[in-house]
Symmetry: C2
């Protein structure tokens, strides 16, 4: 039996992310993707049932999976609140900065109904993404260090300004001013921490 060419699989996924980042999800077609990856359209359909299946797998397994892993690297849920949040912010910023293409599809997770629903299904089906962060937050609530909010509200407070800043980082990336630096990220992080504390 002829074995799979894993390089081709990876090329397909990477080029898909690149097209999405440069032209948008609405301009990604299977034919364009196949041509850009130097592959027959049929090759994509060996692994994926159809376009939706491909996009959902790319989003959940490739993008969200790697993103979660990077964010949680060396993160200790038992650590001091400020320490923990700073670790999360730096991990996130450093990872996304170097992975613009993944970030682009990540952003579509909030707008595209297909991806948004897939995320919710996945979150319910096999436990929560970012479970250690959930644990970290509950721990700090029970220690009376931060205010008690529903978990999704905590997540909005913790992640959304950061993701917005990453977006702005890329908007400004090729301009001389370069507004979003690691220092700004850390200062903004401190403000968010201060707001969450009791």
């Amino acid at each position: 039996m002829r074995p799979k060419n894993l390089e081709k699989e990876e090329a397909i996924r990477n080029i898909a992310l690149q097209i999405i980042a440069e032209e948008g999800l609405e301009n990604l077609s299977m034919q364009k993707l196949a041509k850009a990856a130097n592959v027959s359209p049929r090759t994509i359909y060996i692994k994926y049932e159809n376009k939706e299946d491909f996009l959902i797998t790319l989003f959940i397994e490739d993008v969200l999976g790697a993103y979660e892993k990077a964010v949680l690297e060396n993160f200790n849920p038992e650590a001091d609140f400020a320490q923990g949040v700073k670790k999360i912010w730096l991990n996130t910023f450093r990872y996304l900065k170097e992975n613009r293409n993944s970030f682009a599809l990540l952003q579509y997770g909030k707008s595209s109904p297909l991806l948004n629903k897939a995320f919710q299904r996945e979150n319910i089906k096999q436990g929560h993404f970012f479970a250690p962060i959930h644990h970290f937050l509950r721990l700090n609530v029970s220690k009376d260090i931060i205010r008690d909010f529903p978990h999704d509200v905590h997540r909005a407070m913790l992640f959304s300004p950061l993701l917005d800043l990453v977006n702005e980082y890329f908007d400004y990336k090729e301009r001389p001013e370069q507004i979003i630096t690691e220092q700004i990220i850390l200062e903004c992080c401190e403000a968010v921490i201060k707001g969450m504390l009791k």
Copy 2:
């Protein structure tokens, strides 16, 4: 000369927003839109040059314009900082809650390169969106009430958690728990204010 049928123009825009909200921007086609609006495809091209022109106009003029107007209603840039921010948050939440379809396209503004670039061009070309909020923030910086950040960073801190909460409001809308209430919004708003203060 036969006059324009303004009802038809409005129907086209409203149904476009509805399709985008329900099926995603990537599933909006001019033919589907024309059929759903009970109009010939050619009719759409009377007002708009092509699909991109249509989407950008819909996004900038229809969605962002109305959103800005709703957010700034009765907002006084000279008001007390906490008061001002609360007014913005309540205006935003109450407006978006009732305008899910506009909100859907608004969300695509961060992910779709077409809309993202259009927004940046527009922001540079004819002064900033939300200029009164810019003024409000600079005023509070100069009064030494809040920390000094680049304006885009301030905007990220101020708006992005709120928009995330609106997203969650719709995710939970048809479930019994109904997590995102006006009370939660206000509590979260207080946390954001606290974080921004000096």
